[in-house]
């Protein structure tokens, strides 16, 4: 990706400390503005309700002081199967990410490195699917998945069942193939010299071997980008599971917390639950910041 070599240009002439001070003050104020609700959430999750509201009029609202405990956290687990929801989301996001990487990179490999009739048209059609927002076809899709058949493996063999509502697969499969992931892999694969393929073919390697042993190992950044851009919406997924999942045991975290919110629990418990499902993503973000930022930046390239 782009380096930061050109960043010095925004300051003209020798910047002096006093000239930079007001700008820096603006930066700090904005940092407080963007961070305060998250800090407030984390801090409040350890406080009893009375103290949350008591602390509101001062800076104590953002400080871990007073009567701190894990009571809110244990209360969440007593009220709802929060752990189950977390594991559901983890399983759903992880499966979507892994399948998404494999399925989309395979398609991109065929489209960018192999010669066959119709591949250019197919790539155009795949990119064209990105024009239509999910909200346009979400409701017809609910109707459609309710009609879809599925082969079920039971004790005696295969049986044909109908309807995908209330399953894990309905939360995963519609989001595996994605035009943008294919596009990203395609762009990245184009930058890997095709002479590598030629050499490997002469050495007797198969196409799948080239994909697995040459192209994919060289595509770390593209894989990271697709992983992040698939993981975030999968973990945050809300509208879709709200409509297709009724059973409590299959609920993902975002639907789980919204139902919890409607039970009118204490604010401390709500903040505890919110923190639980936010901290893992925040930690991932802080650990892989550069990859996160790069993947978001790369989502702008198609414009």
């Amino acid at each position: 990706m782009s380096t930061r070599s050109s960043q010095s240009r925004a300051t003209s002439g020798p910047p002096t400390a006093w000239r930079r001070l007001p700008v820096h003050a603006v930066r700090v104020v904005l940092a407080l503005f963007f961070a305060f609700p998250v800090v407030f959430m984390l801090v409040s999750s350890f406080k009893p309700d009375q103290q949350i509201f008591g602390d509101l009029s001062g800076p104590r609202a953002f400080l871990p002081v007073g009567d701190l405990s894990l009571t809110n956290y244990t209360a969440v687990f007593e009220r709802v199967p929060a752990l189950r929801f977390l594991l559901n989301s983890l399983a759903i996001s992880a499966t979507t990410v892994v399948l998404g990487i494999v399925v989309n990179s395979l398609a991109a490999f065929a489209l960018s490195r192999m010669r066959w009739p119709g591949r250019k048209l197919l790539l155009t059609l795949i990119i064209a699917t990105l024009i239509v927002p999910f909200e346009t076809f979400a409701l017809p899709l609910v109707w459609w998945v309710n009609e879809l058949p599925w082969l079920e493996l039971n004790g005696f063999g295969l049986t044909l069942t109908e309807g995908w509502l209330d399953t894990y697969r309905v939360q995963v499969l519609p989001f595996v193939a994605h035009g943008f992931s294919i596009f990203l892999f395609h762009q990245y694969f184009q930058s890997i010299p095709k002479e590598l393929d030629e050499a490997a073919l002469i050495d007797g390697a198969g196409w799948f071997g080239i994909y697995r042993r040459i192209v994919m190992p060289l595509s770390g950044p593209a894989i990271a980008t697709v992983a992040i851009l698939t993981f975030l919406p999968a973990w945050n997924s809300y509208l879709w599971p709200l409509m297709v999942v009724q059973q409590e045991e299959l609920r993902p975290v975002m639907v789980g917390i919204q139902y919890f919110f409607q039970l009118n629990p204490s604010w401390g418990e709500i903040m505890a639950y919110s923190s639980m499902i936010t901290v893992p993503v925040l930690a991932l973000f802080l650990a892989f910041q550069r990859s996160f930022i790069n993947s978001i930046a790369s989502s702008g390239v198609k414009g």
Partner: protein, 311 residues
């Protein structure tokens, strides 16, 4: 990226003219590799889009003993006379009209603020980005607490005005509810587009800035004649993505207000979900979805036209 294409093509041609069998094999393997993605996109994107166009003209329900039948434009005629739907279209337009310039502007401001080289660039970028990695459901829940009558926001308003101004009950007052959702949405989304703007800023050649600084122009002139024209492609992308996101407004409304009070926050997508899922009227919801799609398409095309290359 596309360097050495002629050489590569020539090599490949020389290598493969004698191998029609290998070529055919290559084609079969390629189709096999593309098949899973193509199949999934077909089943979960192409067919549902087609269904939106078909179901909107039928009487389909989510679960129904009687098969759906063709009803012509009936669903659209009903939509045109549904005051709640019309209100949702108005709200959606108002929301988009405010959020799009506001979020794009705030994001550009943030990008310009941290584009300079100084100690702590990464720190500020990270902090501004935190709301983006926080899910909209969690953001909506936390802000519901902040927006309470006796919540943090009103305490701050009280403190800075020395008790002169009493804050409203933001989410339960029809005159402030949509504004409250606008403010929170911009807070959540600005960091995302800051990154896109930053990527755009990096593409502006540094020598243009050097020329400007030799000429000794003001900051504003430099922005007006170097930065702004250099961001044209980025601008179109930012505007269109925020517009689509704004038109898709659903989560905030569903968590915070359920469309209320007095339908002041109901939106097109919220209405589609209400009728299609809660009331199981798939056909009516498909009609709403189609209207939604047409609106998004028109607005995107207009924006693309307005921000087109003028030369």
């Amino acid at each position: 990226m596309t360097a050495a294409v002629p050489l590569r093509a020539r090599l490949r041609r020389a290598h493969s003219t004698t191998q029609t069998g290998a070529r055919r094999r290559e084609g079969i393997i390629a189709v096999g590799m593309a098949a899973p993605a193509v199949l999934l996109l077909f089943v979960f994107v192409v067919i549902p889009i087609g269904l939106a166009f078909v179901l909107a003209f039928t009487s389909a329900r989510l679960v129904s003993p009687t098969p759906a039948r063709f009803v012509g434009l009936r669903n659209f005629a009903m939509l045109a006379e549904d005051p709640v739907f019309l209100r949702s279209v108005l709200n959606t337009f108002v929301f988009a009209a405010v959020v799009v310039p506001l979020q794009a502007g705030v994001a550009l401001g943030l990008a310009l603020l941290i584009n300079a080289r100084f100690r702590g660039t990464d720190f500020f970028r990270t902090v501004y980005f935190i709301p983006v990695v926080t899910s909209m459901v969690v953001v909506s829940i936390v802000w519901t607490l902040l927006y309470q009558k006796d919540g943090l926001l009103n305490r701050v308003i009280e403190a800075v005005t020395f008790g002169q101004v009493e804050g409203p009950d933001w989410l339960n007052d029809p005159s402030t509810s949509l504004a409250a959702i606008v403010f929170m949405s911009v807070w959540q989304g600005a960091g995302f587009h800051m990154i896109i703007w930053l990527a755009g800023l990096q593409t502006i050649p540094a020598d243009l800035y050097e020329a400007a600084s030799i000429d000794g122009v003001s900051r504003w002139t430099r922005f007006r004649y170097v930065t702004w024209p250099g961001l044209r492609a980025t601008r179109t992308f930012v505007l269109i993505t925020i517009t689509i996101a704004a038109f898709s407004l659903f989560t905030q409304v569903n968590v915070m207000t359920q469309g209320g009070p007095l339908d002041s926050t109901t939106t097109v997508v919220y209405q589609a979900v209400r009728s299609g899922y809660q009331q199981q009227q798939t056909a009516y919801a498909s009609a709403i979805s189609l209207v939604f799609f047409v609106l998004v398409l028109i607005v995107s095309l207009v924006q693309r036209y307005l921000t087109r290359e003028k030369d």
